[in-house]
């Protein structure tokens, strides 16, 4: 489970000559028993949970959704070569393998290095457990072909067809500075400080090779990705992700989350495609909508989360059912539930992994609140794109939301033991 690579000189120059390498990491030195509790890939995470960084799939996808998010998109710096990029991914992988075990970013860490040099690790996670930290790395379309059409890293012909440039959806008001990116790092943890620590240190390691383009904090998961988790609520106050794909639904996960052999380039087999959308909610107008209006928009009742066609939260919605007064369908055809439902998209599903956010306030004194939507899928062309096209066209919820950020990333399979994320792409 351990990554046996050390960091390159560029990642942490201070490590030179300190002998950090295979032996040290491989021996697992320094992992206190209380800091490296091995967790299962499913179930409820907790402060002591620790997920391995290496594996068939990257962690942070079907992993039980943690409570906190720090998501970061990076642009590769001008002048960075293919070799530099490889070195960066190796450094990130080596650091991530340590951080996800609750360790400092390097052996010398926050306080063990030369007093005359800046510490390798920034230190704010000293004394904190791994807290279920997962670090998930992805590649944006511009890594393969830059916006100006250049093939900076000799990767253009390796771009998966499924890694599409997302089309303009009706109503999109995307802000360039909150969209796109050559690389992404999704850090999820049950402790926000641990997630921020991960992004901060990976950003620092990247200095000179890649720089932060945008980043987003999320404070409350809006989806459950395992059966053991209760369904959380988004900032509209509704349960979100009731019908989400769960890790235990192995058939659904295999069919809808992981890229399979033959789907596209071999380097993406066992990977997935991540779509992120920053969705600003105008919660002030939502909050003075009547309960009935709110429920009609969603297609579920607010308290239980049951579909308006009846039953309990877990009851499948019945789109043929009529309303009590017989005036129309119980679940409006333009409700969020109806438009997004797999039945209306040939069975297409998404593994959602979004988070609530409040970025302070806007200039008008309104809470800058919303949902940072994250979805994993096998092929966005048949999953996110058609679903979002339908939602953008007629979802009743559109009156209360505005999509301001958008990004898509190819998330390669997990690092092999001693390997690094993206190794297959550069092979």
């Amino acid at each position: 489970m351990t990554d046996e690579r050390g960091l390159s000189r560029r990642g942490l120059l201070g490590l030179l000559g300190t002998g950090v390498g295979a032996g040290v990491l491989g021996a697992g030195v320094g992992i206190g028993a209380d800091r490296a509790v091995q967790a299962h890939a499913t179930g409820t995470s907790g402060a002591s949970a620790s997920y391995p960084f290496a594996g068939r799939h990257q962690s942070g996808i079907t992993t039980a959704a943690q409570d906190r998010l720090h998501f970061a998109a990076f642009d590769v710096a001008a002048g960075t070569t293919r070799d530099d990029l490889v070195e960066l991914l190796q450094d990130w992988s080596a650091a991530a393998a340590r951080l996800t075990r609750g360790l400092d970013v390097s052996e010398a860490g926050a306080v063990g290095g030369s007093p005359l040099a800046p510490p390798d690790d920034t230190g704010e996670a000293l004394g904190l457990p791994a807290a279920g930290l997962t670090i998930t790395i992805g590649f944006g379309p511009t890594l393969f072909t830059a916006a100006d059409g250049t093939d900076r890293f000799g990767l253009a012909d390796r771009r998966p067809a499924a890694l599409v440039d997302l089309p303009h959806f009706s109503g999109d008001q995307l802000v360039d500075a909150q969209s796109g990116g050559d690389l992404c790092v999704q850090a999820c943890s049950d402790d926000p400080q641990v997630a921020v620590h991960a992004v901060r240190n990976l950003s620092r390691i990247a200095f000179g090779r890649a720089s932060l383009r945008w980043s987003q904090l999320g404070f409350g998961r809006t989806s459950s990705t395992t059966r053991g988790q209760s369904t959380p609520r988004n900032l509209f106050g509704f349960k979100d992700g009731t019908a989400n794909v769960r890790a235990e639904d192995t058939a659904a996960v295999a069919a809808g989350v992981w890229a399979a052999a033959g789907d596209g380039p071999g380097w993406m087999t066992d990977g997935s495609y991540l779509v992120a959308r920053k969705i600003r909610m105008t919660i002030e107008t939502w909050d003075h909508a009547s309960l009935q209006e709110q429920q009609t928009v969603i297609g579920r009742d607010k308290g239980e989360g049951a579909p308006l066609s009846g039953g309990t939260e877990s009851t499948a919605p019945d789109f043929a059912a009529t309303s009590a007064d017989g005036s129309g369908p119980a679940i409006a055809v333009d409700s969020h539930v109806a438009l997004a439902h797999p039945d209306h998209h040939g069975g297409a599903t998404l593994l959602r992994r979004g988070y609530n956010f409040v970025d302070g306030n806007d200039d008008l004194g309104r809470l800058a609140a919303g949902l940072f939507f994250i979805a994993y899928q096998r092929d966005p062309r048949t999953q996110f794109v058609p679903i979002q096209t339908a939602l953008a066209r007629s979802d009743r919820m559109n009156e209360y939301v505005k999509h301001v950020g958008s990004a898509i990333f190819a998330v390669p399979p997990g690092a092999r033991d001693g390997g690094w994320v993206g190794e297959g792409l550069f092979a």
Partner: protein, 398 residues
Amino acid sequence: MTARPRPLALGAGALLAALALTGCVANAPAGSTAGATTVAVEGNGDACTVSTTSVPSGPVTFTMTNAGTDATEFELLASDGLRIVSEKENIGPGTTASLTVAVPAGDYVTACIPGLVGQGVRAPFTVTDSGTAVEPTGSDAERIDAAAAAYVGYVRDQVGQLVPATQEFLDAYTTGDDARARELYPTTRAFYERIEPVAESFGDLDPKIDFREADVEEGTEWTGWHRIEKDLWQPDAADDGGATYVPLTADERARYAAQLTSDTAELHDAVTADDFTVGIDAISNGAVGLMDEVATGKITGEEEIWSHTDLWDFQANLEGARVAYEGVRDVVVEKDPDLVDDVDARLGSLETLLASYGSLESGFPSYTDLTDADKKSLSDAVNALSEPLSRLTSALVS
């Protein structure tokens, strides 16, 4: 200026002991090197005659005769005209002094500094490749001593140029030639910005010389460059918290000018004092300290909030970082060649990027003309450089 400069001296004696700093030493005893090429230099109040402008690489002895009426100084500088390769200070009128230095092939600048202030009389000087490599000699401690001595020379040279340049600027300002004063403002400040961490080490001087309005504690008078800046680029009320700017009167101008003259003279006295030394850690930390100045003040456009000449300051800070780095590079390269590779590459990238906007000679655009993307590119390049640069000190003593 920053509120929290990096410490210039370490409290612990470990570094100093490790480096065995013993003060300034000359490169080589005068006239003791057999086979050295001899170059005669004669200087007076306004001339500096060098007998040849080109010598082969290897030991060179400069023999300087002071034919003027004031004390003078001879300097051999790197091609940037900033970094002192070697110097002979305080050569009395009618006396002769010699300086022997082993120089590798390259372009240099010679300078005589009559009166010991100002930029003096400068001329290009070439060292051709004799086929014999000139390697750094001496122990680490000796080379570090030499680097520290050269850095002291550099600081004195910069402050020595700051003094008359400031006077010229203030003369324009106090006589009401605002256009001329605005023109001189950013180039004059460059002498200060290049050595900012050293100036900040004299606790009470930097606040008087370089505080921004926001830095000043309530009840303390705001003086110095930025006080005058605001008077030369008078803000609209809307940009100044709604307050209508009241221009300074001629008397007030004279008073602030006199204060800045006096504070600058005090700085000059301080760096030319016999006991003024700069520890090697101050040099290596000063390199990244200058980049921190850029990151916290210039990139944000806060340093020159009214003149928007932040790019001039940026350039001067960067030049200062280059000088500090070059001073210790020879020692670091043997201990940590990878670190030197990284600093070389990233320093070069940042210099190239900044040069795409202009130069101190040709001028820079107003900082308000830069787009957010421009600023981000500069910020990214500063971050990229600062990360390896911040490891110089530990590499020096490793």
